[in-house]
């Protein structure tokens, strides 16, 4: 870890994030995953996902140590069965209502279910995913309260609906503030201090300027969103903190996305593994961390959580949360 003295005289640490994964190995993993998932008619999917995440996390290094993802296919398969049970119960209930000529009630039940199941899935996925992530044996964790989050989510979605989507930026940031603010890295706590208005105007500007420049500005828009996500994030431990900063520019994003598109098109999709590893490497190498937190002092505080139902429900609803 690089160390410098800040103007106040305290030591400023600068841990660097490095990605060691390579497209070729990742291609091998994805290919085997795909093959085994097809052969087993989809049943292998939880194991495939575990292998993929294990590779991506254990290829990411910070201060000489790599991250670990210790979730297993067995855990996710059990979660998958539970999630399937919940969805099956809903389908049966909707069909029973339709049989008794109450399709409107069935529709309402379906909508209510979706409104309730999405925040529950997000909450569960965060609990499981972060609990299975560690660095030097120190677990991450998510300490959000399910009921509190469901209330927040329903309120934010209601306001977004009432304002015909305009409130969406505030909703996204409020949800982000809650989720990231409840993530722990051992005894370290993450803080996210986003502001809905800033995010709204950032996207408004990005949208109109992208149209005016025939899409060229979209790379700079992307860079601004990434920067907004990273720059407002802090890791706090006792009185010490780490600030994160994005160094990616619109030009960097243009280079990444254009080359990714070319790789994907000219390899007829086979190059997807290289596209993903290039993207992860790019994102990690453009995050600067600086502060006075001593990473070696982070202590174990988070418990293990092995229930993957939320993670599987989020997968079924196609919610890319993490």
């Amino acid at each position: 870890m690089e160390q410098q003295y800040s103007p106040s005289g305290t030591v400023a640490n600068r841990p660097v994030l490095t990605f060691h994964g390579d497209g070729g190995t990742y291609f091998g993993i994805l290919f085997l995953n795909g093959l085994l998932t097809i052969i087993t008619l989809g049943l292998y999917y939880p194991w495939a996902k575990a292998k993929k995440l294990q590779y991506l996390y254990s290829s990411t290094e910070m201060e000489g140590s790599r991250f670990a993802w210790s979730g297993t296919g067995n855990e996710m398969f059990k979660g998958f069965l539970k999630a399937m049970g919940i969805f099956l119960a809903l389908i049966i209930a909707v069909n029973v209502l339709a049989y008794f000529r109450l399709p409107a009630l069935g529709g309402l039940l379906y909508l209510a279910f979706l409104l309730l199941v999405v925040p529950v899935a997000i909450h569960g996925a965060n609990r499981y995913h972060w609990s299975r992530t560690s660095w030097r044996g120190i677990r991450f964790g998510y300490r959000g309260d399910r009921n509190e989050f469901v209330k927040l989510f329903i309120k934010e979605m209601f306001l977004t609906l009432v304002t015909i989507g305009i409130y969406g930026s505030w909703a996204a940031i409020n949800i982000r503030n809650y989720l990231l603010g409840n993530i722990r890295f051992g005894s370290g706590e993450f803080r996210y201090q986003g502001n809905g208005a800033d995010y709204f105007f950032l996207n408004l500007k990005g949208y109109f300027v992208s149209i005016l420049t025939l899409g060229i500005y979209s790379f700079w828009w992307q860079a601004e969103i990434f920067s907004y996500y990273i720059d407002n994030l802090r890791l706090v431990q006792d009185e010490k903190s780490f600030r994160l900063r994005s160094t990616a520019t619109g030009g960097n994003f243009a280079g990444l996305l254009i080359v990714n598109a070319l790789i994907f098109i000219f390899t007829l999709g086979i190059g997807y593994a290289w596209v993903q590893t290039r993207t992860v490497e790019f994102l990690l190498s453009h995050v600067e961390i600086e502060g006075d937190v001593e990473l070696s002092e982070l202590a174990q505080t988070e418990e293990e959580y092995r229930n993957a139902t939320g993670e599987d429900m989020a997968d079924m609803l196609d919610l890319s949360i993490i």
């Binding site: 060691h20 994964g21 390579d22 497209g23 070729g24 190995t25 291609f27 091998g28 993993i29 994805l30 290919f31 085997l32 093959l35 085994l36 292998k51 294990q54 590779y55 254990s58 290829s59 000489g64 140590s65 790599r66 670990a68 210790s70 660095w135 030097r136 044996g137 120190i138 051992g186 086979i270 593994a273 990473l295 070696s296 002092e297 982070l298 202590a299 174990q300």
Partner: protein
Amino acid sequence: MYKGAFYDHKVAKAIPVTVQIFTESLLLDYTREGVSAKKLQWLFTEITVQVSDRNFIRITSAGEEAGTLEVHDPVFVGTFLQTYRHTRGASLHELALRGGYKVGLISLIIVIGILLAGHFFILPWCADRIVDQLPRSFDKKDR
């Protein structure tokens, strides 16, 4: 003897260790500040292994003295996996991690080969067999 870092799952501080590989176990030897030298023996049956490439390996023990050993040494990775695999066997994914793109490419070629063989040889052969079984009157009925 190989060098590695041991983490005790209590704090993120790295404790330098020397590691020895035996046929059915690992022996970790470490000294902490102010504490006398300590030895840990991890049986292969009590550990979980995560390999991400040829240069890095993470071994976790959930036993009485739980901890994680991380070694950045291709020689250790190779030697350990040879001994460990002897007792546990190697999975397809492990081959992919160690063989890099070659494993994926070989699998891809095999799959394409099977598909091509199916299309040009197996399916036509099956079709011929079925045609042989059909009564000739089938063709006449269509006319």
